[in-house]
């Protein structure tokens, strides 16, 4: 559903210019970023493909949203400032839970993993978007907004604003922003942690625009100077084929279900890495192993910066 004012379409020239700037400034040694050609190609091809893939389910999403709006509880005016403040906060919280679900349950992780599959963290990574999000059905989480009475165009605009905001935080060029900003907003520093595969950083900082949701729901982890982020996924891909990027987790999940039909629910809706015999690692077990290895190295010290210690 694209409103007349579509923030994402309007921002595309900005996306392109920002990537050009990040590459050129790095080339001139003014900024610090890394771009690997095939990785960049995969990220941008995923972004391009996600636009096409979105068309496949757009009809269903639009119909469901309009149906919800037709059965709305209230009439919320699109012209009221309070309505924009309200949708900003509610949509951002919905985004947090969508994002958390997309990391903590394998079915939705299968649709989201591609965004994390690059071992780089640069502005092109922001565009490494899902091809299967529509099929995964997480758009259902936004239907209550229409049911509440927010006009569908307003919902689409706010979702667009959130997506555009999240573009600029995919960079290593920006270090840390002023403390007040870091305290309230999602920033490059917070989001670097989210993209990191260090056990300490796994499944942290799900925020869209406001980092307050992570602080509220116990998933916030600040970036630590003593632990540089290592990007990618726990089991990185061995190539740059976009079909593998887009579908590898779906295929792996299907294979697990076929091999272990009695444990199908666990393999589909359990956390990523779950296995019926405990032979694989989830984020939780990886963090526990890491914590144990830290304790073995420094028996008298706590694990600095780990909110669970």
């Amino acid at each position: 559903m694209k409103p007349v004012f579509d923030p994402v379409t309007l921002a595309i020239p900005f996306f392109i210019l920002a990537i050009i700037l990040e590459i050129v400034l790095t080339r001139l040694k003014v900024a610090r970023a890394h771009y690997e050609t095939r990785d960049t190609m995969a990220s941008l091809a995923m972004g391009l493909g996600s636009n096409v893939a979105g068309l496949l389910t757009a009809g269903v999403v639009v119909a469901a949203t309009l149906w919800s709006y037709q059965h709305r509880l209230f009439d919320i005016p699109m012209t009221a400032i309070w309505a924009w403040v309200a949708i900003f906060l509610i949509e951002d919280m919905i985004y947090y839970w969508f994002h958390r679900l997309s990391h903590e349950r394998r079915f939705w992780w299968a649709a989201h993993v591609n965004h994390h599959s690059s071992q780089h963290y640069n502005l092109s990574t922001a565009l490494r978007q899902t091809w299967t999000g529509g099929i995964a059905g997480t758009w259902v989480l936004w239907l209550p907004l229409a049911f509440l009475g927010f006009p569908p165009a307003m919902i689409a605009i706010q979702k667009g604003i959130s997506l555009v905001y999240q573009f600029w935080i995919h960079t290593e060029v920006v270090g840390r922003t002023p403390r007040w900003f870091e305290a309230v907003f999602n920033t490059p520093s917070h989001h670097r942690v989210h993209h990191a595969r260090n056990p300490r950083y796994l499944d942290r900082n799900y925020a869209g625009i406001l980092i307050i949701w992570d602080k509220l729901f116990g998933t916030f982890q600040p970036e630590l100077d003593e632990e540089a982020c290592r990007y990618g996924i726990v089991k990185n891909l061995s190539g740059f084929n976009v079909l593998r990027v887009a579908f590898h987790e779906w295929i792996a999940m299907a294979q697990d279900v076929v091999r272990h039909p009695r444990h199908a629910l666990g393999y589909v809706f359990g956390p990523p890495g779950w296995s019926h015999d405990g032979s694989r690692d989830t984020s939780m077990t990886l963090r526990a192993q890491w914590r144990a290895s830290q304790s073995a190295k420094h028996p008298d010290a706590g694990v600095a910066g780990d909110p669970s210690t």
């Binding site: 392109i16 790095t26 080339r27 970023a33 771009y35 050609t37 089991k235 891909l237 590898h248 192993q289």
Partner: protein
């Protein structure tokens, strides 16, 4: 497909081509140097924290490594300007085919189906373990 979308898609496709070309021209990938024992141990410690390493075989071209850790083989492979790591049963690793100086390991993973590591010989003759600990 609406005409507006087609125009937008074509323009985006052209932009992608320009950006990929720019990234190739800039040569700003992470600097990669051939692996050595110390670097392999460091990478394995990051990938498999706390796992004891008994012995390491670094690829002759420095682009991968194999390590023995108990009943597991830890595999490290260069991909682009990064690395991919997996563990497989040791018995499976030593049974892997070795041809033209390359051992081909079946990783049984859709995300990383196999690994090729250039070694002088494979499988190794049984030797006493070094009992090294990942740093």
């Amino acid at each position: 497909m609406p005409e507006g979308f087609a125009v937008q898609f074509a323009a985006s496709f052209a932009a992608v081509a320009v950006l990929v070309g720019l990234a190739a021209w800039a040569r700003i990938a992470k600097p990669m140097t051939p692996l050595d024992d110390a670097r392999v141990l460091k990478l394995l410690a990051e990938e498999f924290p706390g796992r004891p390493i008994e012995r390491v075989w670094v690829a002759v071209d420095g682009r991968g490594a194999l390590a023995k850790s108990g009943a597991a083989a830890l595999v490290l492979c260069e991909v682009g300007d990064g690395y991919v790591a997996r563990h497989i049963p040791w018995a499976q690793a030593i049974a892997s085919s070795f041809r033209d100086g390359v051992v081909k390991l079946d990783l049984s993973d859709v995300a990383a189906p196999n690994a090729r590591i250039a070694l002088q010989s494979w499988p190794p003759p049984s030797t006493p373990p070094h009992n090294r600990q990942a740093a």
